[in-house]
Amino acid sequence: MAAAHTVAPSAPSSVSLGPAVALSCRECGERVPLGPVFACASCFGPLETAYRFPDEDPQALRRRIEAGPASIWRYAPLLPVPADVADRPNLNPGFTKLVRAGNLARELGVTGGLFIKDDSGNPTHSFKDRVVAIAVEAARAFGFTTLSCSSTGNLAGAVGAAAARAGLRSCVFIPHDLEAGKVVMAAVYGGDLVGIEGSYDDVNRFCSELIGDPLGEGWGFVNVNLRPYYAEGSKTLAYEICEQLGWQLPDQIVVPIASGSQLTKIDKGLRELIALGLVEDRPYRIFGAQAEGCSPVSRAFKDGHDVVRPVRPDTIAKSLAIGNPADGPYVLDIARRTGGAVEDVTDPEITDAIRLLARTEGIFAETAGGVTVGVTRKLIAFGQLDPSLTTVVLNTGDGLKTLDAVAGGPTVVIRPSLEAFRAVEL
């Protein structure tokens, strides 16, 4: 059956994206050639990149990776990108810090080693730079000249910046009521920014329709028609965590859930490392974290369902406010398969967790980071997360993007005198 390719202005008949050899439907397994297509023509299931990886001695591959650039491109042999990707204009994200969080561990009673994978250190201060960097290479390969997306905010900024660096036009779509910081970041790079009256799910639907319309011809939507490539960027979180742990799998990892794509790709990345012999094959557990005001996956997990019923989001964690998460069913499968869980926290618990992480480790997380830290605390309290094991918690964005979520100011305002300072008795 023919694949449902969208129109690219100068798409070559065959493309070279490193080890990527085809797209494969995650539902029915049907394979189609590499192209700007995201849904299986037979069953509408999501297409994902299939690879033929190098048959290389694991020790040699490790050395090759370790000798690579301090960015996601060190893992180019495992990504759908050209071999010379590091030489092209790109934001070169990744290789962010894995912070040993000893103070937070003491606070939470974790004895087995607690780490924060702090992706606020990326060029536009969220993990989205990873996925967009891959999408830029796919856009180039398929001849797109406009980069676009539907976004809850972080992605809009990442697309704007990446397009600017790559010399592409950008036009991105966001819900009209996002946090001011994210809107400014999305607009500053000079591309077009369109606010849509509606939720993220409305924006996503709009973009899906735009792709099938002549208005959208020649546009590469990073998270729609380039999604099979874009999503692979999240695998690099798994690669980095393992390399930074000394080529070891973490025992437990806590991942935020918006669409669920990131969690499924982290699992894919861990399994690839095992299959390639880069890490020892042993059990790991993946936990998903949502905000209570948008917790369709958590609800399905707790109810024992394998279908996710969409919700209308209402939470301060806007970067996770996807009420109809496309990868939700896969998240449920992975959490159950690995012995993990999916849990949610309230908005007050999110802000409390943001402050906890800031106070203990000096890391100011955006609301999504408050969700993962808050859920970690809850999972420990419920006995679902083992505090004696090595645990990695993801912080996917910078707190400066969601300042409204954490109201705060000076402890006190005084005159510039020692007398006044002495009087407040701090």
Partner: protein, 90 residues
């Protein structure tokens, strides 16, 4: 009831390239049955044994039928029904 149905790219091979077609039916299920009569194989692409395939979203106007009455949702005369593949984002 006559409704307009927006056809997503993967299904346009069945509708001879048309991106929107007219269909009859008082409910979503009846509309899909009408489309199946005219475009054999249509229903199987959109539905599985449990109902609407999990990576397919169907909207009546602005409303996802999962928030309405599913396949039993009423399709008023003149309504627009959109069939859209689910995609992730963020």
């Amino acid at each position: 009831m006559s409704v307009t149905v927006k056809i997503p790219t993967p299904l346009r091979a069945l509708t001879k390239g048309e991106d929107a077609v007219q269909a009859q039916g008082a409910t979503v299920a009846e509309v899909i049955a009408d489309l199946e009569r005219r475009y054999p194989g249509f229903a199987d692409r959109v539905l599985d044994g449990k109902g609407v395939r999990r990576f397919v979203n169907i909207y009546i106007g602005e409303d996802d039928i999962r928030f309405l009455d599913g396949l039993k949702s009423a399709t008023p005369d003149g309504a627009t029904l959109a069939i859209i593949p689910a995609v992730a984002g963020g």
